[in-house]
Amino acid sequence: MTDMKAQQAIAKPDIMRSTQDDIQLTEAGELKHFLTIEGLKKERLIEILDTAESFAGVNDKAAKKVPLLRGKTVANLFFENSTRTRTTFELAAKRLSADVLNINVNVSAVTKGETLLDTLRNLQAMQCDMFVVRHSSSGAAHFIASHVEPHISVINAGDGQHSHPTQAMLDMFAIRRNKGDFSQLKVVIVGDILHSRVARSQIHALNILGTGNITAVGPKTLLPQQMRELGVHVRHDLDGALVGADVVIGLRLQKERMRSALLSTEDEYYRSFGLTERRMRLAKPDAIVMHPGPTNRGVEIEASVADGPQSIILEQVTGGIAVRMAIMSIAMGNIEKSLAANSAVQS
């Protein structure tokens, strides 16, 4: 990739931010959609983490449900394949007592914006209350949120290379549970930072929560110097970066990067950037290892690290349900609240 192309890729979220105008907040500054972490206040993130902490107890009950979203219909709109994210969103909605529609939109059948709006209007006609959207185009969730009726909340479950805010929040939840205070932490994120919406959202969240040191590591083709603008240290040697790390986050290596000649071979990547047991000894002895999944063992992470005592990969998945319950109920509650306030003014 040329530097110019890389620059464009980085600049994309900024362009979107300028058109965004905090569409995800109510007039009172509270979340009604959850589209991106960028630009949110620290208190909004803390609210999500604290609420998720309360929801974590729901999993211990005989009846793993609370009645908050009873009578609401949540539509999982997945324009891009996903198993883990869709399943945990579905479980989260069901544990909030909502009815859930899973819609796997055949991407080839969807041409452009018109069809997307048509799909939306149909779902609105079916009286859905919340859309959980995953789409391969950056900005798709934002586009949908700007076109839905005011009683509908939109949650971004990953849009292109832009953002994956619920994944980032569940990662913050796992970090806070294991490490507590963010300000003293050294967090290392390794992999294809340039194309990763997960990494981008994680970096925004870590910055907002006041993380002391965020270091991004990867090959030069996948981590250009301009990534510094996101507020991270940029390094290309994993061994050096790992020294003194408290949290180590591996990203999934997407095979298509190899085809597009941004990377040489899996073996070479593993030799330079694989999270191995030997390398992990460079980090602090109590460092935790995270990964958004699914893991490519032997490509970005050694199996004994992914399954080892420092790994909290499965804890991330469990926490993801509580975090998504928190986000859905906060957003839906704020919409209900603003609608009730408006109807009170009118009557």
Partner: protein, 169 residues
């Protein structure tokens, strides 16, 4: 807000001691095997003292009822006070449900719904420090520290230091 009356912590402790005696009478000789649940946050404070006075076998639990409230559609999600902590099984147990102020009865309705999501208790007794008039649901307490007939404009609040304040808006 004008403060009308203040009951100091010693006075509140007295009320709780009387509640404990009344609970012993109602529960009979094996009262110490009953399980106690305080509703967050005021009910937890009362439950701590009540638990101490009764010397129950099992430690008291805490109930966060904010996910069961009936005003979600009007005011959204309440600020969080932490997860419910129930360190015992509900199934087949006698539960002493404790709150600081019983007013509309809606909190107790929510609390009972939550309890049943953990299991089927044999019996639930309701103990409240203050029972004020103004019920909106058919719910009554079994054990009361003090009854109060107050107009709607009044507010009753149990402070963290265990003093009880009655004030007017």
């Amino acid at each position: 807000m004008t403060l009308l009356e203040k009951i100091n912590p010693a006075g509140v402790e007295n009320m709780i001691r009387q509640m404990a005696e009344s609970l012993k009478l109602q529960l009979g000789s094996d009262y110490q095997s009953a399980k106690m649940l305080g509703i967050k946050t005021g009910g937890v404070l009362v439950a701590q003292q009540l638990h101490e006075a009764l010397k129950l076998e099992e430690e008291a639990g805490e109930l966060n009822i904010s996910f069961y409230r009936d005003d979600f559609s009007r005011i959204g999600l309440h600020p969080q006070v932490g997860a419910s902590k129930i360190p015992f099984s509900i199934e087949g147990e006698i539960i002493i449900l404790v709150d600081d102020v019983l007013y509309s009865g809606r909190t107790i309705r929510a609390a009972m719904n939550e309890i049943f999501d953990y299991g089927r208790p044999e019996k639930i007794l309701l103990a409240t420090l203050v029972d004020r008039t103004g019920r909106e649901l058919p719910i009554n307490a079994d054990v009361i520290g003090r009854s109060m007939d107050l107009p709607q404009s009044h507010q009753v609040k149990l402070r963290d230091d265990m003093s009880l304040e009655i004030s007017q808006r």
